[in-house]
Amino acid sequence: MSLVVEHAAPVKKNYVTALKEALFEEMERNPNLICQGEDIGILGGAFGVTEGLQARYGASRVVDMPISEACIVGSAVGLALGGKTVMAEMQFIDFISCGFDQIVNMMATYHYRTAGEVNMPVVVRGPAGAYGGGALYHSQMNEAWFCNSPGLRVVCPSTPYDAKGLLKGALRDGNPCIFFEIKELYRKREIAEFLPEEDYAIPLGKAIVRREGSDLTFVTYGQNVYHCLQAAVELEKLGVNAEVIDIRTLVPLDEDTIFTSIAKTNHLIAVNEAPMTCGFAGEIVARVSEKAFEYLDAPPMRITRLDTPVPWAKPLELHVLPSVEKLVNAALKSVKF
């Protein structure tokens, strides 16, 4: 008589589950990790990223904070000064502006101004991005503010695998990090995937080629990765073979993967859903122009949000944001230059 052991069949995990797994596993692995934010304990977070975390690890390590982003970040700085690692949640990344001073003046500079005496292992993470009708204050991608503040890592995962691996990587990196999660991807079934059973962390600063192509390179991150992939499908029908690079980490930026691609395709379109002026797409264009100019057969282009806030009504929102159509048109213009 044989004993049959039934194993649960592996299931595909969505983006928010991947984040949740990363937090549970890091809380288990690192007893010095503290999580804090608005509504993250009793409620389990506005989006459920910290669901069950307080029940498992207690209210002293999973802290419901008063509504003060400045204090959430400021006390995280103090916790780090006291030797802790901190995950500080912004309920929406739009609200991070209320904690801006603590991030850019206190946290980002701490290692620098103490000549390396003090480390700031603090990950400030939160739901970001438009396309969901969130309007002005629930749609922002304000990553450029932080890329322009030396001392901060800036990360933006686009898949469940990356969400888990990069969050772990960020929590182990030892530097302060602003971690942009794409809330429109949190529960998107189409991108759910099997995650490794074993522990893994993705080191910051490694881009990934999401689609190989020979005629043109889209360089992007976050939700626009999917717009670029869709555009690539449309372009293929028109005989244009587009490569799509997901940079995953803005600071530090993996230039090599971008330059290698440009050397092959000779055409660049940098894409982000933040406004154009001083946005990260501009940084990518600048670096390619400075360091890989000889590979370019056409002026590098940017497809970004217009220099506007994100409006609410659907036609307005779609009008100002990057779209598959805008990407296809730009690509055709680039390859025909």
Binding site: A70, G82, G83, D101, A115, G116
Partner: protein
Amino acid sequence: MSRTSGTAPAANATQKGDTPSIRPRDLLSKEDCLEIFRQLYLARYFDVRLIKEKRLGHLTGTLYSSHNQEGVLVGSLYGLKPNDWISPIHRDMPAFFLKDIKFDWRRADRMGLSIEEVCAQVWGRVGSPGRARDNWSHIGSRSKRIIHSTSMLAGTIPVAAGVVYADRLDGGDAVCVTFNGEGSTAQGIFHEAINYAAVHKLPVVTVVENNQWAYGTPAELECPTTDVADRARGFGIPGLVADGQDVFDVYDKVMTAINYARSGRGPSIVECKTFRAYGHGDHDDDRANKYRPKEDVEKGRARDPIAICRATLLALGHIDAAHAETFRAEGKNASEAKNDDFPPEVVTFLNEGIEFALQSSLPPADEGAKWVFREAK
């Protein structure tokens, strides 16, 4: 200070001048009292000497004088345990070396910065704990438990709350004393951080040095209440008012708040009424009588903390009348004060610090691009 944790505070929770029948100062020995007196001279000498050095062209940074406010610093710091944290700001430069300095100023295991480190910082030399990467008082020490100050007023109060939270998680009983001007109480983060500390009963003592002037703006244009300490009511925490010119009154009130915090009952605000003797910084020469009436300045400086401490010691019999006549530093500005107005060990101590600073080199230029990020292990 008899409220117990968890009970709703009475409407009149603000406690002005209300100290227990046995005051913290009553537990100080004669030696302690004399040491406090000596530390007032040390803080004053540091200030007048640096002003002289600046006028001689030896310094490049801006000086934020703590002249006339030494009672707040010494009185707030004297009762701390070595493992406690402090968070000074720009006008508190002596706090960095006054922390845990009791009696033997050269003790190797002190939990404070050495006079050499502080002087190296003032001179912008590599011997500074921050290797001269930020200016004036923007130093600190994780190992000595001093929060590094910045220019963002009240911005270190949440950091103080976080650092004592960490200490509590590790089983410690440290408190953090933060120093702030009355002007900084207009900042949102002042209130946000104290609110958080009060919710979690964190051992943070917020000392407000109310020196009546925030740069060129008088206190009444910064804070609508007569006493800044009244702000405590909104948080259900004690708000105490001390005479900042009387080092022993500061000691009483801050120690009361420290004991309250250490026992797990939470934060307090201690307002120390004082007066800014000079301009905001040495670039702001208010001798020109530009925005502060001369009579107000004279009145504000009339109650010198050194003189008030001396009178107390005389009354207690800790010093005799002859002793009281030596070292008359009070009432003298940087131009008037001479070295022999101060105890010789004070002058020697600072001379040694300055000597170290002058021998310390400027940092190598390429350090300007270092330590943006932690280097990979």
